[in-house]
Every structure is written in C-alpha cells, then in structure tokens.
C-alpha cells in the first residue's frame, strides 16, 4: 500500500473543500446556510480549511424559527465570533408578522414549513446567487437524485426532472437572473461519515448532542423537550430523562433519544448500534408522509 493513499474521510474532505472553492470561484454572492446542527458545523469546518489562512469569503446565514435550542444559538454566536465570520440572522417570526402568515397550530406547532418564506426573502434581500447547505443524499430517497450544484428558480423550486447532468468533478454553476444554486458539499457523506469526521477532526459540538438531563414529554414513543413552544396538556406524560439529540432542529419537532453517551465515542457507538435512520428517529414532521421531504424541497425549503 502506497503512502499516497487517502482514507474515506480524507477523500470526502478533499471533495468537500473542492466544492467550497468552486462556490467561491464561480459565484459573486454566496452564503453558507448555518443551522447550528452537526452537518452545517461540518460545512463551516470544511470552509475554514478551504480558505485558510484567509477567512471564509462568504457569510453564514441562519434562518431562525424562534424555536431553536438556546444551546445551538449560543454555539452559533460563539463560532462566528471565533472564526471571524460574518453572521446574518433572519427570523421566521418577523416574516410571519410582516407577511401576516398564519402561525401553525397544534400541540407541536412547527414553523419548519414557514422557514422557506424567510429563506427566500433573505436570498432576495442579499441577492445571494449560491447557498451552501448541509443536505446529504443518504438522508432521504428524494435527495438521492439531487445534484451537488442544484439550480432553483426565484420561488426556490427544485425540479427533479430538469436537473443538469453532473460529470467528473466539474460543476456547472451558470444561472440566469433570479435563479440561484443550492450547493451540497457533503452530498456523498453518510451520517456516520459526519460523526467519524467530527471525531477525527476533533470538532466541537453544541452540548445537546451529548447526554444531559432534560424535562421531556413522551408522545407516541418519542421524547420532546418541554419548552414554551409546545402545548402542555393535562395527562401529558412528562418526566426528567437522560437524553441527547442526534439532529438539531426546532424544539417543536426534534425528538431526543434516551442515552448516557457523554463522549463522541459513546455517541458513535450508540448510533452504530441503532438500526433506525436519523430522520426516522428524530424528525416528527417526516412521519406525516413519505413524500414530505419531496414536497418541502419543491417549495424551496432546501
């Protein structure tokens, strides 16, 4: 075996960095969509490596639903500060007020679907021509067909039938006015690749990824954090449990898993042993229909 060989994580990293640089080279006003979750944290890490010793030449953009975990928000602010990145935050709450949108109702009213309004407005406000996102093709069937450079019209719509062929590692980012491109540098990573990469690069994560004690509501076998954003009713099964999160989304729709894993190694061991996919385990809104993701993507969510 030659010494000139990369392991799978190094290969994925090289590809991710290459894509980051294509974005910086091809677009005038790119942005990195940052959520505070492990996938977008990985993106920031790749972007730092891509442009060191310089700073990341585009802003981090967070579409804040107002239902985020406080731990994720403080992590976001500290990270942006530490790496000297420009951070742009736009609030879904503001969009709802300004556009007189209807707040979703219900026990776990989620603003997830409304994010796309704020995102599209933000893209228009800053005239972003490329938005880097942390989606992976292994997450969901609909994503398996998406290109790394994925063109959106001004409504943010993704048209699976009109995708550009993507050959070798040549990415066509040419667009017309009003269009923009979503770029997915970690398309080829699986959830475990992300965890292993975080481990091998010693990337810091928000504390909620590790086991902690939290007051949770048990609902149809899933554990939701007790917060101001969900409606507590009589007869609800509420208790204190040792939990961690596997993905970080809104408090209204991201379920926790019971766990004692307090280190990255423990977390990876637990995830390797689980035979439930990341989405199935932690996103309650996906259960609604199998085509949920596809519909949301078409509406410009990602």
């Amino acid at each position: 075996m030659s010494k000139y060989q990369l392991n799978h994580l190094q290969q994925l990293e090289a590809e991710g960095i290459h894509i980051m640089r294509e974005v910086a080279g091809q677009f005038e006003r790119p942005a990195l969509l940052f959520s505070g979750g492990k996938d977008s944290i990985t993106l920031v890490h790749l972007a730092r490596k891509a442009f060191a010793p310089g700073k990341i030449p585009f802003p981090l953009v967070h579409i804040d639903t107002g239902h985020n975990f406080p731990e994720a928000l403080s992590y976001r602010d500290e990270l942006a500060e530490k790496i000297g990145a420009k951070l742009i935050v736009r609030n879904v709450g503001d969009t709802i007020r300004e556009k007189k949108l209807t707040e979703p109702k219900g026990k776990f009213a989620s603003r997830n679907a409304l994010q796309s309004y704020t995102l599209l407005d933000t893209i228009a406000e800053f005239e972003f021509d490329a938005c880097i996102g942390g989606a992976r093709r292994d997450e969901e069937k609909a994503r398996a067909k998406e290109r790394i450079f994925s063109v959106r019209d001004e409504f943010g719509t993704w048209d699976p039938k009109r995708q550009r062929p993507e050959l070798w590692n040549i990415y066509n980012g040419k667009i017309s006015k009003g269009e923009n491109v979503r770029v997915f540098p970690i398309s080829n990573w699986t959830e475990l690749d992300v965890w292993h990469y975080i481990q091998s690069e010693k990337i810091e994560l928000p504390s909620i990824y590790f086991a902690h004690e939290r007051e949770v509501l048990e609902h149809q076998g899933q554990l939701l954090a007790v917060s101001d954003f969900i409606r507590i009713e009589e007869g609800d099964n509420i208790s204190k449990r040792q939990v961690r999160y596997r993905t970080v989304g809104d408090m209204t729709c991201t379920a926790a898993v019971e766990s004692t894993a307090s280190t990255l190694e423990d977390v990876i061991r637990e995830i390797t042993a689980t035979r439930i996919s990341e989405r199935g385990e932690t996103r309650i809104d996906d259960r609604i229909s199998e085509a949920a993701m596809e519909d949301r993507k078409k509406n410009g969510y990602f």
Binding site: A52, K145, S200, A291
Partner: protein
C-alpha cells in the same frame, strides 16, 4: 422475504461492526455504476447489496413493507429500495441517476444507479464519469445482448478502469455452468475487441442472494469471490495517476491582513500526481516556471501532497495567476492548445448544431468555444461510424473538432482521465449539453 427475519450472515455480525478508529485509516471509497437492460435485475441487486450489508434501516424497511403492500406484494420488493422520486413512482420507471451509499468495514461504496432504458446514454455517461468500476448485469437466460454491448462500449469510452460482469438469474438456468461459460466466452471476445482492461465474471442470483454477499451453495463449481468481497478487495488505489503532476487553481487566497500582507495562496485540487515543497513547476498557459514555497492542507503545512487532495500552494515567485490556470510538474508536459478533437456525448433535447458556440468547462476553467465540425457519429451498439451526420440528437456520441477562445491546458482523456474531460454549456439556457473526452 419476511422483514422480521434478520438479514443474512449472522456469523458475520462481529465482523461487520464498525471498525475501530485505528482500522478506519485503511477504509477507502469505491465508486461504481450498475448497468443492465430493463428487468435484468439491477434494482434487485442493489437492494440485495444494501439489505445484506445491513445498510437498510428499520424505519426505511417499514416504509418499504408499506409500499409493497400497496401493490399487494406479500414480500418486500428489494427493487423498491432504489426507486426514488414520487414522479418516477407514478410513472413506474426510473428516469434519472440516483446515488446510493453503503459501507463495510473495508470500504465505503457509492453506487451511481443509472437506468437501463435504451434512451438513457446520457445518464450512464454521467454515472460512468466518476466510477472506478462498472457492474454489467447479464440475464443468464438471454446472454450478451445489444444493451450489454452498448454499456460495455460506454464503459470503454469513459475509461472505467474495472468491469464486473454479473451473470444474474442463475437460479432460472438451474445454476448451469455451461450457460455461464458460454456467456463468459462471448463477453470475453467483446471485452477484448473494446480493450476493456480488467474484467471479472461472477455468477449470481440477485433475487435469492447467491454470490452477492454470501457464497452460493448452489453454484459449487464457481470458486471465485462473491460480488461484495470482490468489490471490497479490488485495488482502486492505482486508478489515481500519481506520475503526472497537474494542479488546477480554483481560487486565489489573499487575506491582505497585517500579518499576511503579501500572502498569495493558490487554492486548488491536485488533479493527478504528487507535489513537494521545493519542486520546480510550470504555470500554464502562461508558460512561466516557478518553485513551490509551501503546501498547506487547511491550516497544516505539509512537505508533499498528492491527488486527489485539495491543498493551497505558495510559490516563491511573484506571478499573476488566477482561477483556471494550471500548475504542472517539470516532466510530462500537458497539451496546451485552442484546437482539439473530442468524443462528445450530446445531452440536450435540442440538437447539437455544428458552428454553434458553447461555454466549455474544464476543471476550474471556463472558456468560450465553438464546435467546428462533426466528423462522425458513433453507433454505441456497434461502434460503426456514420460520417458527416446531418444532426446530432440527445444521447448520441460523435467525434467533433472544438476550438476555444483561449488555449486550454489538458491531457488526452485516455492517458489521464482526470485532466481530459470537459463539459459544454449552452450559453442561452445555462444547461449542461455535452460531455467531451479530449483525444489528444
């Protein structure tokens, strides 16, 4: 198949645990594409690989079982696993390329699943462009058919380094060695005529699982590896060219801060070869020689770097270099020219018109170009040439002459795959309309 039943090879459970981080070092990536005509069993095979390597998770399995019930199948239909978007489900066909992932302790696998339908040369070419290997499925009852020839021809044009011929549905020919041997003989002739470099034959039953992940007890006359163990073991390290140094500049890093006042780093991808600190290099197309001052991988300085790493190179000399320029090693010069011949696969619904201008993208370089002349059309079923074709339509492959506005730094695709592929973009629609392999 009953979903409550555990995936096969219980005895492998220990082996199949995630490797410890020590072992992780050796795990690499194999990218492959599967090709076969409709109903050869491609979806079943991919489903089988994912299922038997336990890459299918419980909830996805429930969804599958649910779907299968919808169409009144009692069993899980493994083929459903690879069937993507709803639009396609409605039409009942796969219309585009999809990527699938699974891994074993030895390797991470990326499958480009391109549909086998006659019209979809475009998708196969796309999937083939990044593949280390192609699995060509042959229905044992049908043997080598037109589609087999077509897929093999595309594999040879795209220079996929390794070929596996999976002779499928062996259960339907009573696991007959004769049937298999005849296919082997016939395909070997084809492979030889196409100059396919590395061909391996494996008799399988995707449906029953024979020789896919588990060794078949029904095919005792076959002594080779199963498909999965072959995919795990095959050497793909040598697919990367480490002899011919090519570095495509993607972005110039100029922090212009106080402490990095004069810093100028060339960020890019090592397309091929090895670069070391102190190396004498050439900057092209300018044709200026220089020496490497430093190489950085992120924030870490390294003595040398190699393909396919993404690094940042500093030169001792102060040269005007921008995105699209190429830094090459001292020996093995590339071709620098604004006229060259290509094999071109047309990918747009509008026809290719000789004399039209297109944007041409080669690694990080984009130039204006014109397709000057279409020499001949290649029949992908027979390799026959039809000279001076009137029109070139979607999914057709032609040989053409291209002229670019400024010189391109490239290599013959056959010699150096990583530096010989370009795409054509329609300037008015921005769509990728052609894939070209440069013939130097």
């Amino acid at each position: 198949m009953d979903i409550s039943k555990k995936p096969k090879f219980k005895s492998d459970e220990v082996k199949r645990k995630e490797p410890k981080s020590k072992k992780l070092k050796r795990m690499d990536i194999l990218r492959f594409i599967t090709a076969g005509s409709v109903d050869d069993g491609k979806s079943t095979l991919i489903g089988r690989l994912l299922y038997d390597s336990k890459s299918i998770l419980v909830d996805q399995m429930e969804t599958l079982a649910g779907q299968s019930k919808n169409v009144e199948h009692a069993d899980i239909d493994l083929a459903l696993l690879t069937d993507g978007l709803r639009a396609e489900r409605e039409q009942g066909i796969t219309i585009d390329i999809a990527y699938k992932y699974f891994s074993t302790p030895k390797r991470k696998f990326i499958i480009a699943d391109a549909p086998g339908h006659v019209q979809y040369t475009r998708n196969m070419v796309t999937g083939a462009s990044t593949a280390n290997l192609i699995v060509i499925l042959i229905d044992a009852r049908l043997g080598v058919i037109e589609q087999t020839r077509r897929h093999s021809i595309i594999a040879s044009l795209l220079r996929i380094p390794h070929v596996v011929v999976a002779v499928n549905k062996m259960d339907l020919v009573e696991f007959s060695q004769d049937v298999y041997s005849n296919i082997l003989i016939e395909y070997s002739k084809l492979a030889e005529s196409l100059g396919l470099p590395d061909v391996k034959f494996i008799p399988i039953s995707a449906l029953k699982g024979d020789n896919v992940v588990d060794q078949s007890t029904n095919i005792s006359w076959y002594e080779g590896p199963t498909l999965l163990s072959y995919l795990e073991e095959i050497d793909v390290e040598s697919d990367i060219n480490l002899e011919i140094p090519r570095f495509a500049v993607q972005y110039v890093i100029r922090p212009q801060t106080e402490e990095l006042h004069d810093y100028r780093g060339y960020a890019g991808e090592i397309v091929s070869g090895v670069y070391s600190k102190g190396d004498k290099v050439n900057v092209l197309p300018q044709g200026i020689s220089a020496t490497i001052k430093s190489i950085f991988l992120g924030e870490q300085q390294v003595e040398e770097a190699f393909a396919p790493q993404s690094v940042t190179i500093e030169l001792n000399e102060d040269i005007d270099i921008s995105r699209g320029d190429v830094i090459v090693g001292a020996g093995n010069p590339p071709l620098v020219d604004n006229e060259f011949d290509v094999l071109l696969c047309w990918m747009d619904t509008k026809p290719l018109i000789a004399g039209n201008k297109y944007l041409l993208q080669h690694n990080s370089k984009v130039v204006r170009s014109v397709v000057r002349e279409v020499e001949y059309k290649l029949d992908v079923n027979s390799l026959e040439k039809a000279f001076n074709p009137e029109q070139v339509q979607l999914n057709e492959i032609v040989r053409a002459k291209i002229k670019t506005q400024t010189p391109l730094v490239f290599d013959d695709y056959k010699k150096l795959r990583a530096n010989g592929g370009v795409i054509l973009i329609d300037e008015t629609s921005n769509v990728t309309v052609g894939a070209c392999m440069i013939e130097g």
